[in-house]
């Protein structure tokens, strides 16, 4: 690395290099004190393994050091702004963690007698009530394990409803805007539907006339559903959404809404009032459950009156005798479409989300949406003179830019993003949505202070100035200060090395 002091260890003061556990530990080391094995006959049949699995162990101090050092190489919300559009990287309250770890929630088995877990079923029912009230929908399926899983749930309910009417063979088309998140067409295709793209208008919204034309292509009787995100992936509210829903319902189709952007409207707008039939909610976005480096998520899906009967198993029912879990088809007359996952859903995330909802309350949640929208518009207003926003007018909770402001600089969206890393920021969402060139989608969320935004804005302005002044190195060489420089993703894909192996890696170390 040019200009940076080289050290013997490769360490740089507080940022430490860390080897793989396979290079540090040995199979016989153990960081857990285990009791002696009681003397009993073996009842393993012919299935006993002859030797231990070849995996290293570490003592507790070594293990702690290993993971703490790894953690130091990660950016996190707790450390700084994460302006990732469509991800809603808001603060993750620690009260949520404390509540989820109450033994009464964390240390109970999903199949112990229901009489012994009435408090857990009550929590699920309370969460369901909050979600239904906030969305204005009569039913909710809690079991989907993540947003994409919730999408699957919503579309499965729609498919089940269509099948119940005997229209599954004719209704094969699902209309999806070109700006949609990749999970939308992936989900539709998985269920055997044919995906038909809807173009956007110059305003970044669904082209209403083009939509109606697409809808009526075969008299409308071949349309199963539309999958819309609202606010959409450009950060804009679909103004014509009620008309879209009405036109769709008139031909017998169903409205699936991707709820990834619910943070912009929670407490102010209810998707049920917009004509939505199914909408998944990302608890790890709008409701603050932690992203955890990629999961676990949770994707409860609200359902309209028409879809409610098909809700998946299990669900919680409340009666005078208490709470009961409906787990099997023979416990209900409703034509549930089946089961999506073992057990009951992401209880750990339910506790966290309810703790958050109760903390904010109806007034706080409305303020969340307002501050989220305010923060995004503030960023838009103070950057749009130097960066290029493709659509006019206010945005919702996220601000979209394209790369035309970088034209003729020799710097692209990727280079710009990598330079942000050296400035201490995680880059914004890049190259999504696909409808603009070199997209940059910025979602600050409501948990960022004005001071943080001001510094972010100033930094972005400085980067733009640098790009326009031809300061190529600042971008092309970036990042220079992160624990790693740009990584060779081509090599990773051409010659995948997906696990550590003694033969290859020891030879590597010897070099």
């Amino acid at each position: 690395m040019s200009g940076v002091k080289q050290t013997f260890t490769g360490n740089r003061a507080l940022v430490l290099e860390e080897a793989l556990i396979f290079e540090i530990g040995v199979t016989s080391k153990c960081g857990v004190d285990l009791e002696p094995v009681p003397e009993t006959p073996s009842m393993l049949g012919d299935c006993g393994a002859k030797q231990a699995v070849n995996l290293p162990g570490l003592s507790e101090p070594e293990a702690m050091r290993h993971y703490v050092r790894l953690s130091q190489k990660n950016h996190s919300i707790d450390a700084g702004l994460y302006p990732l559009g469509s991800c809603t990287m808001k603060h993750n309250p620690r009260l949520n963690e404390k509540m989820a770890r109450l033994p009464g929630f964390g240390d109970i088995h999903p199949l112990q007698p229901q009489a012994s877990v009435q408090g857990a079923l009550q929590l699920m029912d309370d969460l369901a009530h909050w979600l239904k009230t906030l969305t204005g929908m009569p039913e909710v399926a809690l079991s989907p394990k993540a947003g994409a899983h919730g999408e699957l749930c919503g579309m499965m309910a729609i498919r089940a409803a269509i099948e119940a009417k005997g229209e599954l063979d004719s209704r094969k088309r699902v209309l999806v805007p070109e700006s949609a998140h990749g999970t939308n067409p992936a989900t539709a295709a998985l269920l055997g539907f044919k995906v038909d793209g809807i173009p956007a208008n110059a305003d970044g919204r669904v082209d209403l006339a083009a939509f109606k034309e697409k809808l009526q292509e075969n008299g409308g009787t071949d349309v199963a559903a539309i999958m819309l995100t609202n606010p959409n992936t450009c950060g804009l509210f679909e103004r014509d959404i009620i008309e879209i829903a009405d036109a769709l319902h008139a031909v017998g189709g169903y409205f699936y809404c991707d709820g990834a952007n619910f943070n912009a409207i929670v407490g102010r707008v209810r998707p049920g009032d917009l004509g939505v039939d199914a909408m998944h909610i990302n608890l790890h976005k709008t409701f603050s459950t932690p992203h955890g480096g990629g999961g676990p998520g949770s994707g409860p899906t609200v359902l309209s009156e028409r879809l409610a009967p098909f809700a998946p198993l299990p669900y919680v029912e409340k009666s005078d005798e208490g709470y009961r879990l409906v787990e099997d088809a023979n416990q209900t007359d409703a034509p549930s479409f089946g089961r999506m996952v073992a057990f009951h859903g992401q209880m750990g995330m339910f506790v966290r989300a309810l703790s958050y909802m109760m903390s904010h309350g109806s007034d706080g949640l409305r303020q969340v949406a307002e501050d989220a929208v305010l923060n995004a518009n503030y960023v838009l207003a103070r950057l749009q003179d130097v960066m290029s926003a493709p659509f006019n007018g206010p945005c919702m909770h996220e601000a979209l830019f394209d790369d035309s402001f970088l034209k003729d600089t020799g710097i692209d969206t990727l280079d710009f993003a990598k330079a942000m890393i050296d400035e201490g920021y995680h880059p914004m969402t890049m190259y999504f949505p696909l409808v603009v060139h070199g997209a940059m989608l910025i979602e600050p969320t409501e948990t960022e202070s004005k001071a943080t935004l001001d510094l972010f804005i100033a930094t972005m302005r400085d980067l733009v100035a640098g790009a326009k002044a031809g300061d190529l190195d600042r971008f092309k060489q970036a990042p220079e200060l992160a624990p790693r420089r740009r990584l060779d993703e081509t090599q990773a894909a051409r010659n995948p090395v997906l696990r550590w192996q003694a033969e290859c890696h020891e030879a590597q170390a010897a070099e």
Binding site: T27, V32, V37, T40, M43, L44, C47, A52, L55, G57, E60, A63, M64, Y67, Q72, K73, N74, S76, Y82, L84, L95, M99, P103, F105, V117, T133, A146, M156, G182, A186, L191, R239, I265, H291, G292, G293, P296, E327, M340, V341, H344, Q346, S359, D363, L365, D371, V373, L374, N377, L380, E446, T447, R484, R485, L487, Q491, A492, A493, L498, R499
Partner: protein, 449 residues
Amino acid sequence: MRYLPLTPADRQSMLATMGAASIDDLFVDVPGAAQRDGLVDLPRHQSEMQVERQLSHMAGKNMTASSVPFFCGAGAYKHHVPATVDHIIQRSEFLTSYTPYQPEITQGTLQYLFEFQTQVCELTGMPVANASMYDGSTAAAEAVLMAHRVTRKSRAVLSGRLHPHYTAVIENLSEMGGFTLAQSACAPAPTNGDELIAMIDDDTSCVVIQNPDFFGNVADFSALAQQVQNKGCLLIAVVPEVMSLGLIKRPGDMGADIVVGEGQSLGNGLNFGGPYVGLFAAREKHIRQMPGRLCGETVDADGNRGFVLTLSTREQHIRRDKATSNICTNSGLCSLAFTAHMTLLGGEGLRQLGQINHARAVQLSQSLGALEGVTLMTSAFFNEFSVRVSRPADAVVNELAEKGVLGGVPAARLLPDAGLDDVLIIAATEVNTEEDIAAYAAAMQEVLS
């Protein structure tokens, strides 16, 4: 409000900057009919103290596994999770970070995923594993879809001894995707799988078995794997209790083509059913048909070793309607808990832990089997077995609970119409003491007399 940094003065100043009179100006695109002027009908904000009070009260109504002799399994197991593990997953940089799409500033996450993948490979005896799925049941369903893609066929044969929830999830995804399946009869007695071979036809892509099975039976299924492959099908092996892999033969060594499982037993508490962590491992030649995230090794611009998410073109954000799956997340923090716990144990520690589990289960099976009215039905098991009791098992379990023992899961709870009303599935792990076992036997004797 403690989570909102903006002050009223901030808001005014920011609105003024953008020339907006009020926040309502920014919601101008929302149709009037959809705007709500008042608050939704839910309680207003509350302090930490108030929230804690209410949720603690709710939690207090539940009987916790640590408070009584506890013997429930059936796909979720109580093990001791070292304090270190829970501490590691609460570090800010793990808890509050995002998917590692910007690898330069997420090497922490990427390295532990690489270690996790390696561990899953070694545990299962398979050459490649992904960075986790939601849970064992969805991993199993995805494995079936993958088998259909690889063989270009559309029918699956399922063992009747799969966890019933896993069967239901596979059925659901199959039916919705236009595939078919058949399932062998369900019975607690072990089988060599001949009935599954007999069910294979020209359109069958895979046979799905579980080891240990739903009733606890363990067996060497190498011969079955061979027969399945001779018929041109893939063998999918489901592992519901990952801790068993410390002591029993690895599914990869027994010839499985795809191995899926539930990793909850390592690092993750019971949590009333979620979040858990799905394991997915396969053969090299099928790598491009694998669902889920994959972390791979590479170098950076300075030649230093680093890690990145790779082979992303299988995934939804690139292939869109031609993706191998619609999955978008892995189980992140749960996989970190898994890998940290496995690292603390090491291979020999895991083996010893497995031996303790097995010994406790053997002791329990002997104590209960000696009672009048209890018949042991499983002759080869890891830490879970089934018994036939002389009264309906659900009544037995409820009465045991009243006596302060959580004695297992009645088979009929998950298989209500299978004639298994008197079958009880019981697990024992390292958390159970000899006192627990004695207490259970005593309580059972009372309940059955």
